[in-house]
């Protein structure tokens, strides 16, 4: 199997414009049904499973995401059965049909290895062409992942619809050229990058899906964290959620709220959490760290403990992980770097009532379904978009950030026949 490099080192606005024109021509000339995309994605998932890329963070999620069993229900829900079967459907005297936007630009965040792929899959499912700016740090991993797509897509049905560009993010001319060339965009990232990207000169008709910036938290009721038999299992789930994506994802828990229980000793729980963190760290040690993150971790450890007020902490001599323990219903500013603040709160609803739209995912461990219903409603009302079981905080699905992932990348065209 000969593969060509799908990622292009771009140095001129003309290259981007030309690529977008080529993609648009492909979209206009060749319609592709969601079913055809499912088939290729299924083969792509299998190729990834058989690859030596298992250490890529999030690969298991990506493989699962690419399965027909995952995507078909999403497309059905978002686009309806008519789109899957193709063609127009009647709507009174008119008929409707879904069309792709055209070319969708993707600006993935630099901290999630699989995000360029996740982003472009949404646009491909809607039948679009994809112009993807691959962050510099993700070029190699994205290249390896897309090589597996090339293996799965022997006819090039999808790879023809992809142009992946790598360029210095400070090249305003290239960012602008990319924005001007697209009919829609998926923008992922932190506050600064998202704000700057939104200011790019997109055509007035283009649709922007902006994801980020958000933070996430976890919460457990007393019955759950107090249950000695299940405690180790819950702690492993929390550790997994903290470790994944090095706690830099919007879905990474930064704070864990524990509902106070007179009969349960929180330090006993933290001891279990410490073991889970040590275990996770053994399995997934860091290979590098920014010195500024080490400084930030050292500072938050000291600042937390110097506050006194009964604050406690558990951490090794290295910056590998940190558990800060205290009381209160307000989430402190996140430090990231596998730093989890555990706050004991009288009532989980006290903490949830302070949430706002910055909170994306709430990972829950609640023993009673009726109680979970109350917590879920309160969280959703206060701006939380995803409420999931602990250990599943990063499972990518639609809707994400409260937004559908595929329908916004389509246009529903209405046709009223002129003969009528």
């Amino acid at each position: 199997m000969i593969t060509t490099d799908l990622i292009h080192a771009v140095d001129s606005a003309q290259e981007i414009t030309a690529a977008a024109n080529r993609l648009r021509a492909v979209v206009h000339e060749e319609e592709i049904s969601p079913n055809a995309v499912f088939d290729i994605f299924e083969r792509w998932s299998a190729a990834l499973a058989a690859s030596d890329l298992q250490e890529v963070p999030g690969l298991a999620f990506l493989r699962l995401w690419l399965r027909r069993g995952t995507l078909e229900p999403i497309v059905l829900r978002e686009l309806g059965a008519n789109t899957l079967s193709g063609g127009w459907w009647q709507d009174g005297r008119a008929r409707l049909r879904t069309f792709p936007l055209g070319v969708v630009g993707h600006w993935p965040a630099a901290n999630i290895e699989i995000q360029p792929i996740l982003s472009l899959t949404c646009a491909l499912l809607a039948g679009n062409g994809c112009l993807v700016r691959v962050p510099r740090g993700l070029v190699e991993v994205t290249r390896l992942l897309t090589e597996k797509l090339q293996e799965a897509d022997t006819l090039g049905l999808l790879t023809r619809r992809l142009f992946m560009a790598s360029f210095d993010p400070s090249r305003t001319d290239l960012q602008e050229a990319m924005a001007q060339s697209v009919d829609g965009a998926m923008i992922w990232g932190g506050a600064e990058s998202v704000s700057q990207l939104r200011r790019l000169p997109f055509p007035h008709w283009s649709r922007l899906l902006v994801f980020g910036p958000r933070v996430s938290a976890a919460a457990m009721d007393a019955k759950t964290w107090g249950n000695r038999e299940e405690r180790a299992s819950w702690c492993r789930r929390i550790a997994r959620d903290v470790w994944q994506f090095d706690q830099q994802a919007c879905s990474s828990p930064q704070t864990l709220f524990l509902e106070r229980a007179e009969s349960c000793d929180v330090s006993e729980f933290v001891e279990h959490l410490k073991k889970a963190f040590e275990e996770e760290n053994r399995a997934h040690p860091r290979s590098e760290i920014e010195p500024s993150l080490t400084s930030a971790i050292s500072l938050v450890r000291a600042s937390w403990l110097l506050k006194g007020d009964g604050n406690a902490a558990v951490f090794p001599a290295s910056p590998d992980w940190t558990i800060l323990l205290g009381t209160g219903a307000t989430m402190p500013n996140p430090t990231q770097g596998r730093t989890l603040t555990v706050l004991v709160v009288e009532d989980l609803l006290d903490a949830i009532s302070k949430f706002d739209g910055t909170l994306q995912t709430l990972g829950l461990g609640i023993a009673d379904a009726a109680r979970e219903e109350i917590v879920t409603r309160a969280a959703a009302t206060n701006g939380v978009d995803r409420i999931v079981k602990l250990g599943r905080m990063h499972v990518f699905s639609s809707p994400w950030d409260g937004t559908e992932l595929i329908r916004p990348l389509t246009r529903v065209v209405r046709h009223v026949q002129s003969q009528d």
Binding site: P135, Q175, G190, E192, V215, S295, L306, V314, A317, N333
Partner: protein, 383 residues
């Protein structure tokens, strides 16, 4: 003897040593016990500090090396009120760091004893580099920084630390009514003419020397003809790097204006939190650690000390302060450890070279909630 008295005795013994003659092993052994006593003393005086120490992963009382003792990151000195081990009536001076615009400065409190040791520590170090003689002292700064008392900035502290070398002091920068300042060239030339071949001590912040002193004199083609001047400067290179001024160009131009050898231009590293300790460059370009202090360069990945030739975060240690818990501090600077022991210049102990500031930690990725309140100057993107 109470704990504080024992500590003070130990500090005085180390301060009376020649600063660079103790070998690493001998120095560390003496420092370890003294630092342990200082930590114990600080825990008695400050319950929140004691809370921090109690949670350190290694019990300091059982530590067998300085590297295992609990250190504080320097950022904690930005707290308000400042961390203090003495009551407010005992605070003689408060030093603040030279924070750049928008940053919160560090503040440290000095009682009389710590203040005295700060002066003695700096004096001992500088004497080793320029000799013990008193001489005219040219301050490339305004008189306000020389005269400041009570609340003193980093510049003032650095200027004042050298005044005991002075037979007379001349400040050659003058404030002007609009709030700026300018070089008083007439006064400078008059002093230079008077001092001629004498030994002269000169001090200024690196960027002040370059922007207000050297540039003015170069433009006017003035050379001071002070061949025996020793020019000490500190404050960092960040602003000069922004002006694309290299260390070599700086040394060359300063030496040219003074009419002295480039070896007489001495850069030193220091910070207000590491009270009484400065790290001048030796003639081999290395920085050294005096008997009453220690330095460690820690690998950011493990926080373990690195081996010679490797870079990492600088941890400074000093036994001098007893008015604030500044014995063991993890800085936000990086350095290369040159040697564990010794330098061709003859000074014993570890030597290192400053590598740069750690950039401000930023929350990364889609978990970054920091809003952009300022319009960025250039497109940054997401990578």
């Amino acid at each position: 003897m109470n704990l504080l008295a024992e500590i003070e005795q130990g500090i005085d013994n180390l301060l009376s040593e020649s600063p660079y003659t103790l070998g690493s092993e001998q120095r560390c052994k003496r420092l370890l016990e003294l630092l342990k006593a200082e930590i114990a003393y600080a825990c008695e005086r400050h319950s929140a500090y004691a809370n921090y120490i109690a949670h350190w992963p290694i019990d300091f009382r059982n530590a067998e090396r300085i590297a295992d003792l609990p250190y504080l990151p320097v950022g904690v000195f930005k707290a308000n009120p400042p961390l203090s081990l003495v009551t407010s009536e005992k605070v003689k001076r408060t030093l603040s760091s030279s924070a750049t615009t928008g940053q919160v400065p560090s503040r440290i409190v000095l009682d009389a004893a710590t203040s005295r040791r700060m002066g003695k520590g700096a004096l001992t170090i500088v004497r080793d580099f320029i000799g013990p003689a008193r001489r005219p002292y040219l301050v490339i700064d305004t008189p306000e920084n020389l005269a400041a008392q009570g609340q003193i900035g980093a510049r003032g502290a650095a200027i004042q630390a050298l005044r005991s070398f002075a037979t007379e002091i001349v400040c050659c920068i003058e404030p002007v009514p609009d709030g700026g300042s300018h070089l008083d060239v007439d006064r400078l030339l008059a002093s230079a003419a008077q001092w001629k071949d004498s030994e002269v001590l000169v001090y200024g912040f690196t960027y002040v020397i370059w922007t207000q002193f050297i540039q003015t004199l170069k433009q006017r083609g003035i050379q001071l003809n002070l061949p025996n001047a020793r020019i000490l400067h500190s404050g960092g290179w960040k602003r000069l790097q922004q002006l694309a001024v290299t260390r070599e160009a700086f040394n060359r131009d300063v030496a040219s204006v003074f009419g002295c050898p480039t070896a007489s231009v001495i850069d030193y590293y220091g910070m207000v939190e590491n009270v009484g300790v400065i790290y001048p460059d030796c003639e081999y370009g290395n920085k050294h650690v005096p008997a009453f202090a220690e330095i460690m360069v820690r690998d950011p990945l493990t926080l373990e000390p690195v081996k010679p030739g490797e870079k990492g975060l600088i941890q400074v240690c000093s036994v001098l302060p007893t008015s604030f818990p500044g014995f063991l501090l993890l800085t936000e600077d990086t350095a290369e450890l040159i040697s564990d022991e010794g330098c061709p210049c003859g000074r014993k102990g570890p030597s290192f070279r400053f590598a740069g500031r750690v950039p401000k930690a930023e929350i990364r990725g889609c978990g970054n909630l920091e809003s952009t309140r300022q319009k960025p100057a250039e497109m940054v993107g997401v990578a």
